[in-house]
């Protein structure tokens, strides 16, 4: 089994639910001219949380979005899938 499958299985066994990041599909860039962009940060929560706080949002902060948007424009499709994050 590969790493990401092990990770996903552990998360699912724990009954954790991912809060998806809005407006961006990565949380890390190697900041090269053709950057590699990955999601390496996650937020997980529980069913109880979702019922108590149904409107929970995970948002990237605006200032770095601008910085990364520039990076995105020059990005070639280097990474199509999720990579393991540690």
């Amino acid at each position: 089994m590969n790493d990401i499958m092990i990770f996903n299985e552990i998360i699912s066994n724990l009954g954790l639910l991912e809060i998806p990041l809005k407006g961006r599909n990565f949380t890390w860039s190697n900041m090269q001219s053709e950057p590699l962009l990955e999601q390496i940060d996650w937020v997980f929560t529980s069913i109880n949380w979702i019922s108590d706080f149904p409107n929970t949002l995970l948002l990237p902060l605006a200032t770095s979005l601008a910085k990364y948007r520039l990076a995105l424009q020059s990005q070639k499709l280097k990474s199509s899938g999720l990579k393991f994050f540690w």
Binding site: F7, N55, T56, L57, L58, L61
Partner: protein, 150 residues
């Protein structure tokens, strides 16, 4: 990376923010200033930092990092220059009770001073290589979460 979690409670329609940032070392004044700026920008009540790369925190250091309202904190020390987690909060919004602390995770149980609602925050840092990574996977695999917890 810096992210905000915005939780909007159904029963009170009161919303609050958590700022989360893997800072990769709190070793310069620039980083401290950047955090202060992000705290203001996010209008957060709680902030979490991973990879502090610091073995110790005290109130005077927190004051350098954050506005005065962040008067409580808990941390998991770095091991040398690796890892380290900090959570700090505004005690007029939440009271916090520090739970589990280890090198991968720091848990704080929060109670809203507004409505008494209780929930648990765990900030996790997973090392990306070496034996620490295997140790982390094992820790995660053995983790138990109380089903009654929020």
């Amino acid at each position: 990376m810096d992210n905000i979690i915005n939780a909007n409670s159904r029963d009170t329609s009161r919303s609050w923010n958590i700022l989360n940032w893997n800072i990769r070392g709190l070793n310069s004044e620039d980083k401290c200033n950047a955090i202060k700026e992000k705290i203001e920008e996010s209008a957060c009540s709680i902030f979490c930092i991973q990879e502090t790369k610091r073995e110790h925190f005290d109130h005077s250091y927190i004051k350098k990092l954050a506005p005065k309202r962040f008067n409580k904190f808990a941390y998991s020390p770095s091991e040398g220059a690796s890892g380290g987690i900090l959570i700090s909060w505004n005690s007029s919004v939440f009271t916090g009770e520090v739970g589990q602390i280890n090198k991968f995770a720091l848990t704080v149980k929060f109670t809203s001073t507004h409505n008494g609602q209780i929930w648990t925050l765990t900030s996790v840092y997973g090392p990306c290589n070496g034996p620490a990574r295997d140790e982390f996977v094992e820790w995660l695999n053995n983790l138990q979460i109380d089903a009654a917890d929020n």
